[in-house]
């Protein structure tokens, strides 16, 4: 275990602003080890995913063994360890959405992009994820595309919108490469 110096007061050496939110959370909880879950939540929120480097940083700051940080973060579903794609589609697969056909939506998208739920396409343009329940069961099936929640979806309606946003990103990427 590393020594308990006043490392805490020193901001993250990268100077990355996103670390500030994480530092703030740790400070709020007085760097207590019990705050690990809160800190991981705030890290996931500000970074979008938990990189190895980030886990090491949290482990050192809170004086919690890295094995424990890893153990806790892999236990819970909300933490991800790879960056998400540019476009992100979450399909609710709760009971209500399931009986109203959310599985077909997942399968249609998975087949189209050649990835499984939870994966990101190799060009990094699209991530497909499923959620346990988004709590909008009265409006099943529910889909969240790039943060936009929509209700009573069908495979076709979702596919249409996903293709739109992905092709927009593709165009943008090509323009950037060209120019």
């Amino acid at each position: 275990m590393t020594s308990r110096t006043s490392r805490k007061e020193i901001p993250h050496p990268s100077g990355d602003d996103r670390y500030k939110a994480i530092d703030r959370t740790m400070k709020l909880f007085h760097y207590e080890q019990d705050a690990l879950l809160e800190v991981l939540n705030s890290a996931q929120e500000s970074m979008g995913y938990l990189s190895e480097e980030l886990l090491i940083y949290i482990s050192r700051q809170l004086n919690v063994p890295l094995s424990q940080v890893y153990g806790v973060s892999t236990f819970y579903h909300m933490f991800t360890f790879e960056p998400l794609g540019e476009n992100n589609c979450i399909i609710c697969t709760g009971t209500a959405c399931h009986v109203k056909g959310s599985e077909q939506i997942v399968q249609t998208l998975a087949a189209e992009f050649g990835i499984a739920a939870g994966d990101t396409t190799s060009d990094g343009l699209f991530s497909l994820r499923s959620a346990r329940c988004l709590g909008s069961c009265g409006l099943a099936p529910v889909v969240v595309l790039n943060g936009q929640v929509s209700a009573k979806e069908t495979p076709n309606s979702v596919m249409k919108r996903v293709k739109e946003v992905v092709s927009l990103s593709k165009d943008k990427l090509q323009r950037q490469e060209a120019g």
């Binding site: 909300m78 009971t95 209500a96 399931h98 329940c133 709590g135 069961c137 009265g138 209700a151």
Partner: protein, 569 residues
């Protein structure tokens, strides 16, 4: 802040609300937001802002769930001395029309019969005519958006927990006060001893709404009788059942009610610190509870001296990171401590050794939300609702193949038939009712022949299902039962924490057997093996997750065995 000041604040807010002739309530709960309530709310605000008349005439209130989520976004217009009108399926354009329908046009003009103006309109009437005409036109075409409030969906309900949702602005403490909020807390602190409170709750017959149905008063008493330097209370808002959102709605739409119940709980058991453990997937609930805590602190309802008394209590939010098993109390405690959410063997029960080894009372959100009403109206009133052993009401998230889906609160003892065919409006599309699934992955399917049994803890248990936290998914004849139970088993495989073998290995094995049955690779004897394995997992697992994981399989094996048999022929 003390009792009198609280009442002054409440009175001030009531007077403020009274001055408005009309109040337009826009639902901005998660479900309605998914249906586009954000745009609807903006459109209503714009419509009102553009209104030229008296600004004191109308107020737009951002409120919570009105129940009928399948018709969202919902807007209700309350006019003084008139019946409220509820609108559903509202696009921004319809929202504009609703506003112009309800806002009075120029003074003194009564709504004309449009036919009167067909011929010979005098020029000086023109402006009046145009304004009135607009109102009439707005009314036309709105019929299909009007939801009659005398539908069985509304009249069959009894609202205790949900009595303020849809009527108050959840982000405003004053609004809760104006509806009688925190009077129960004031009463408890002023007139009752902790033992009195526990006794009152025990007499009311309130049982845990998380699913298991343990008598709440008993649980409180256990914690109260412990001697310890520190005691804690935890509100369990980790609603993991996929297909249920009762707790989310209460936390989002009436956060102060949960908080009030929690503070009363803390006083009754002698706790000075409490945690609200909320599912990470519920950002709005987290935000609103946090806001409610801040507001309560500012007004002296939380803190060193609660309402000016010697009782001190602080509350904090903890965010769950998505693990179904954390609904189990010992797992939840580990999670609050920042560890992996893994259950442990009980005893010792959390009431004697819980959070950081101290006596801890853990109660579900809905249980907490019942407490203020019980204190205000008395244990006898509460015990008067429901059946002999199950008192009060239960909130259900009604979903699946039904005409009306949404959030309902019904008295215990109501029959499933009433819920499905009267409140739910029956099965659409010419299909037939097949089963009602209660309790999510821990519950079971109830077939048609038991539709007339009353809904309470004991009856549902006898039928092989459980009350559960309140998920109620109705399925029609298009769903195949083996597939459906595989869906739940898949969930349990994923959510098993891995600590004990029966659950970790058993659920995977059950899923494998179901896969084989569905693929047609099984023989009839496999059904017996499947049942035996289910019983084994049920009886030997460590915690509630494993013990109840086989329920969906067992209940469908019991009531829909022919569907399995057809596959193994």
């Amino acid at each position: 802040m003390n009792n009198t000041k609280l009442e002054e604040l409440a009175q001030k807010e009531r007077v403020r609300q009274e001055q408005y002739q009309r109040r337009i309530f826009c639902c901005t709960s998660t479900a309605c937001l998914a249906a586009g309530a954000g745009l609807t709310h903006t459109a209503v605000q714009q419509g009102v802002a553009a209104y030229q008349g008296d600004k004191n005439e109308v107020e737009v209130v951002q409120t919570g769930c009105m129940g009928l989520c399948s018709r969202g976004p919902l807007v209700r217009v309350d006019t003084k001395d008139e019946d409220a009108v509820l609108y559903g399926d509202i696009s921004p354009e319809v929202a504009q029309r609703i506003v112009s329908r309800h806002l009075p046009t120029d003074e003194g003009v009564t709504e004309p019969d449009p036919d009167e103006f067909e011929e010979g309109v005098s020029p000086h009437d023109f402006l009046h005519f145009r304004a009135s005409r607009r109102k009439v036109e707005a009314k036309q075409g709105l019929e299909k958006n009007i939801i009659p409030l005398d539908l069985p969906f509304f009249t069959k309900q009894v609202n205790v927990v949900l009595s303020e949702t849809g009527h108050i602005n959840p982000e405003k403490l004053e609004d809760y006060l104006a509806h009688g909020g925190y009077t129960a807390l004031a009463r408890v602190l002023d007139k009752m001893t902790p033992a009195d409170v526990c006794d009152e709750i025990l007499r009311s017959g309130l049982r845990g709404r998380g699913g298991a149905g343990f008598p709440t008063g008993l649980k409180w008493n256990f914690v109260r009788q412990e001697e310890a330097p520190q005691k804690y209370v935890i509100v369990n808002g980790d609603e993991g059942d996929p297909g249920a959102y009762m707790d989310r709605t209460v936390m989002e739409d009436d956060p102060h009610r949960v908080l009030e119940g929690m503070i009363i709980n803390a006083y009754a058991v002698g706790a000075t610190k409490g945690f609200l453990y909320i599912r990470g997937e519920y950002p709005i609930a987290i935000r609103r509870i946090r806001r409610a805590i801040r507001a309560a602190k500012r007004r002296g309802i939380l803190g060193k001296s609660v309402l000016g008394t010697e009782f001190s209590f602080t509350a904090e939010v903890r965010i769950g990171a998505g693990a179904f098993v954390c609904g189990e109390e010992t797992a939840l405690i580990h999670s609050v401590e920042g560890k992996r959410g893994i259950p442990r063997i009980r005893p010792p029960y959390p009431s004697s050794a819980g959070l950081w080894g101290m006596p801890t009372g853990i109660n579900n959100v809905e249980t907490m939300a019942n407490v203020p009403s019980i204190i205000n109206k008395g244990a006898d009133w509460f015990a008067g609702i429901g059946t002999k052993k199950s008192k009060g009401t239960k909130v259900f998230a009604l979903a699946g193949h039904l005409r009306n889906t949404g959030l309902i609160e019904v008295p215990m003892g109501i029959t499933l038939r009433e819920i499905v065919f009267e409140i739910g409006g029956g099965i659409p599309g010419g299909h037939k009712f097949k089963a009602a699934q209660t309790g999510g992955p821990s519950g079971g399917c109830i077939p048609e022949e038991y539709l007339d049994t009353p809904v309470d803890y004991e009856t549902l248990g006898k039928l092989g299902s459980i009350m559960g936290s309140g998920g109620l998914v109705i399925i029609d004849d298009t769903t195949r039962m083996p597939d459906f139970s595989r869906f739940f088993m898949d969930f349990c495989v994923d959510e098993s924490c891995g600590k004990c073998v029966p659950c970790r290995v058993g659920t995977v094995k059950i899923r494998h057997m179901l896969d084989n049955i569905i693929a047609g690779n099984s023989v009839p004897e496999d059904l017996d093996k499947l049942e035996k394995l289910c019983r084994l997992v049920q009886t030997t697992s460590l915690c509630g997750l494993g013990q109840s994981a086989p329920n969906p399989v067992l209940s469908t094996l019991k009531y829909f065995k022919h569907e399995y048999e057809d596959l193994v022929q």
